[in-house]
């Protein structure tokens, strides 16, 4: 493993990379990055592979709930010990390390803050490999493994422990309970044996975020979008202007929306369907990319990712198609994150990219030819 520690110098790259993996969702990572910087206080956190950690269990941690509220009320630090103790008490397992529930967005960063507070190492793996909105979209849940016992809580001592529930049921209960926690809560899931990480989790996802972030940091105003995309292992869907953004407030579930981008050349129209994340891309009405792959909208001038919440008409953007975690393309789990899981009645689009990529070096792929 090329990375064994995460220090101050890595926080910026981590935040960028986690945002890209967020596929337009997962929350703004800059607040989480500032929090992490403060918590590290000049120190560093071990980032280990499962092999390096050896035996024992790791506990997936993160936050669940409304990201906008998270930015207003940052974690104070005490919440991690609460939820971890609750899970440990229920299972009788003392964790050897932490892992992120979600590499994309805020949770790709916040796991390091939790690890710094608890003095635990972070294992280079997560349960989503990107950002996804629901608990039942955790890799382990998609494989039928239980997520419970799980605990959600906050620094004020409020705690909810669930056990014996299926992942969809846990998702419903947690979602319903979040308002009692002020919009978001820290979460710890059932510990995962280190030995089973390779089958139950997406390994290497945090180092992928770090590598993506490092390459993305090279994006300059004069950079050629195609070359930059190639360096990220992505392909350019369109370079153009956002001509229309529509958001539908749904009565239940998450709000849906559409972003329509008109290409600078040829008048091609690219439509992105979004929920919390960009989910499906159509070029001139033809689906060309979808979940579980990752779609990013970047501001053309600075290359900064534009989230689903902030994208608006008139913006000059580049839309990228980034390969999603190969884990999710496995037939037995694809249903959990395919477009139909989000109510988009179309098959997932297998892109003209190499899906047999290695777990450790997703950024090392040769540039995709659109």
């Amino acid at each position: 493993m090329p990375i064994h520690h995460l220090g101050e110098a890595d926080i910026g790259h981590l935040a960028r990379g986690a945002t890209l993996l967020g596929s337009g969702g997962g929350g703004q990572t800059d607040a989480a990055a500032r929090l992490l910087l403060r918590v590290l206080g000049g120190g560093r956190v071990s980032l280990l592979s499962g092999d390096e950690l050896g035996e024992g269990h790791v506990v997936p941690v993160g936050i669940v709930g409304a990201v906008s509220v998270f930015t207003e009320r940052l974690p104070s630090g005490g919440e991690w010990a609460h939820v971890l103790a609750a899970v440990a008490g229920r299972t009788g397992i003392r964790p050897a390390g932490l892992m992120s529930i979600e590499a994309g967005g805020v949770n790709g960063v916040i796991v390091f803050a939790a690890a710094a507070e608890l003095g635990l190492p972070v294992v280079d793996a997560d349960l989503q490999g990107r950002a996804l909105p629901r608990l039942d979209q955790m890799s382990a849940a998609a494989l039928g493994e239980p997520l419970t016992p799980l605990a959600i809580g906050d620094a004020g001592g409020r705690l909810l422990v669930l056990d014996g529930l299926s992942a969809p049921a846990a998702e419903r209960v947690v979602r319903a309970a979040l308002s009692e926690f002020g919009g978001w809560a820290a979460i710890a899931l059932r510990p995962i044996p280190v030995a089973r990480l390779h089958s139950l989790a997406i390994v290497g996802s945090l180092s992928r975020a770090l590598r993506l972030g490092a390459r993305h940091a090279a994006w300059t105003r004069t950079a050629d979008a195609r070359e930059m995309a190639a360096s990220l292992g992505a392909r350019v869907l369109v370079t153009g202007r956002v001509v229309e953004v529509v958001r539908h407030r749904a009565a239940t579930g998450f709000g849906r929306g559409s972003v329509i981008i008109r290409a600078d050349r040829g008048g091609t129209l690219v439509r992105l369907e979004m929920e919390n994340e960009y989910l499906l891309a159509l070029v001139d009405g033809l689906p060309v990319a979808s979940t579980p792959d990752i779609l990013c909208v970047l501001d053309r001038a600075g290359g900064l990712p534009v989230s689903c919440d902030t994208v608006r008409g008139g913006a000059e953007v580049v839309a990228l198609h980034l390969p999603g975690p190969p884990f999710w393309w496995r037939p037995e789990v694809l249903h959990a994150v395919a477009p139909r899981a989000f109510g988009l009645d179309t098959d997932p689009v297998a892109p003209p990219l190499d899906h047999g990529r290695s777990e450790t070096g997703p950024c090392d792929h040769s540039p995709a030819r659109p």
Partner: protein, 517 residues
């Protein structure tokens, strides 16, 4: 069916399909439509090239969903002519701007149907595959509407406009619109007596002649502005208009019968008037009063003589209208070569009144110039029925004179002429002058100034002695010349008729050849 398939633009230009509006702009509508097929919102199924894919019902949220984009794309790939969708009224869900852009970009028009989609689709199928059905239905409705009663040309136009659901206008013989209507399209030929289907800038106008009373000319034209229209619909409209021409002709024929009956009555009374038989309160005078003729008061008559072959009855309405338009309050009667008319007032007309009348009549002539040229003569003012008779006679004479006088605008007022001059002027007309020259022709080739002698003799009142004195010759020479003249011309100078004819001939030829006098 040998016709080319109608284009999308033509189809949605048809009244039956007018509920469809293009949502993706006006481009890409000029493509042939070969059929109509139904699709469901999720899957297009099989759509053939050139078909309009009608989606009869869409779920909520569909118009703004990505699914619509995907369907647009699939239909484009299948070379469909268009996608037709039900759209709710204003304020309802609508197609996203992005989807409209996509439709334009992929050249697949989206039609929003504002009516029951299946009914629209049915109508579209019928118009594409059997346009004759709609045409026959409209012709049947036209027949029913036009045979309900006697309709004026404007009434016919209104009835046909309701049936064709498009503006219908009446044009005059030269193609000028009558009443409030549209202009004839460029390329319309009012001299070609055939139905004309003209398409300019995608809009089709059908113009059909109503044959006039004289063969080979159009009395009127009926025209329908269809907008974008397939050829079959234009031909259907032509058939409907032709049914309308029959109704117009029927109206014209009926009107003519009324006019002729009226004209006969007036002609009879007018004959009595000219012969001075309308005096003294008898039954004839009463009938004259019944048809609005005033016989008492001061009358000024004028006569419009039509030049050339003119159907008088066919223009009587126009003449009366032209006179009324110049605010001349006159009774107008058809008479032989034209129309006689008179105004009646309480006082004797003064100079100003007659000058105004002349100016007004000149304008009447200009008004009628589009129909025919005419000569106008005006009589003097006289009192009562007998005076009217006299004024009419003067007007008629003056009109005869006016024919040969283009320099006065073919308008002659008897006041401006002495009677003698009138006589000579009358005799100088094109009809008499050659006769005069021919009459005196035998004298020209003879020695002895026979023409001058004859002229002097007649001017001298038939006195040979005075003639000899005037000419400076012996009296016997005059007598001999007169005998030769009688022989050469085979005339008898003692006969007053011969003398008069020869005297006029001498005066006319002198006027024509003053140097030889």
């Amino acid at each position: 069916m040998t016709d080319a398939a109608p284009t999308l633009r033509e189809l949605i230009g048809h009244p039956l399909l007018a509920a469809a509006t293009p949502l993706s702009g006006d481009d890409d509508l000029d493509r042939p439509v070969t059929g109509v097929t139904l699709i469901d919102p999720a899957e297009t199924g099989l759509v053939r090239t050139g078909e309009i894919a009608v989606c009869p019902a869409v779920p909520a949220g569909y118009l703004s969903s990505w699914r619509l984009d995907a369907v647009i794309r699939r239909l484009r790939d299948q070379r469909a002519a268009a996608l037709a969708l039900p759209v709710p009224g204003p304020g309802g869900e609508t197609v996203l701007d992005g989807s409209r852009r996509l439709a334009r970009h992929l050249h697949l028009p989206i039609l929003g149907i504002g009516t029951a989609p299946l009914r629209w689709a049915g109508a579209a199928v019928a118009l594409v595959h059997s346009p004759a059905v709609d045409a026959a239905d409209r012709l049947r409705r036209a027949h029913r509407a036009l045979t309900r009663g006697l309709l004026s040309p404007q009434d016919v136009a209104r009835a046909l406009a309701a049936i064709l659901e498009r503006p219908v206008a009446v044009f005059g013989p030269d193609g000028t619109p009558i009443g409030a209507s549209f202009e004839p399209p460029p390329g319309f030929d009012p001299h070609a007596m055939v139905a004309q289907i003209l398409t300019v800038d995608g809009g089709t106008t059908v113009v059909v002649p109503v044959p006039g009373a004289t063969s080979g000319t159009a009395g009127l034209w009926l025209a329908a502005a269809l907008g974008p229209a397939p050829a079959t619909w234009a031909r259907g409209a032509r058939d409907v208009l032709q049914a309308g021409t029959l109704a117009v002709q029927r109206w014209q024929a009926t009107r003519r019968v009324v006019l002729e009956r009226d004209a006969r009555l007036r002609a009879g009374l007018f004959g009595d008037l000219l012969e001075g038989r309308l005096g003294g309160g008898d039954a004839r005078q009463q009938r004259a009063a019944e048809i609005g003729w005033r016989l008492d008061g001061w009358h000024v008559a004028f006569h419009l003589a039509a030049l050339g072959q003119v159907d008088l009855l066919g223009h009587s309405d126009a003449v009366a209208a032209a006179i009324a338009a110049e605010r001349i309050d006159a009774i107008v009667v058809e008479r032989g070569d034209g129309w006689s008319a008179w105004t009646t007032g309480r006082t004797e007309p003064d100079q100003d009144a007659s000058r105004d009348l002349l100016a007004a009549l000149q304008r009447v002539r200009h008004r009628l110039a589009g129909r025919f040229d005419c000569a106008i003569g005006v009589g003097r003012g006289y009192l009562d029925a007998s005076g009217l008779t006299r004024s009419l006679a003067e007007a008629w004479d003056a009109a005869r004179l006016a024919r040969g006088r283009p320099q006065t605008g073919r308008l002659v007022h008897i006041d401006r002429l002495g009677l003698a001059q009138l006589l000579v002027a009358w005799a100088s007309t094109e009809t008499f002058a050659p006769t005069a020259t021919r009459l005196l022709g035998p004298l020209e080739s003879q020695p002895g100034e026979l023409t001058a002698t004859l002229s002097a003799y007649l001017d001298a009142g038939g006195s040979a002695a005075d003639t000899a004195a005037i000419l400076g010759v012996h009296r016997n020479t005059v007598a001999a010349r007169l005998r030769r003249i009688e022989e050469l011309l085979t005339v008898d100078l003692n006969n007053p008729d011969d003398r008069l004819a020869l005297h006029l001939a001498c005066r006319v030829t002198q006027d024509h050849h003053p140097g030889s006098a």
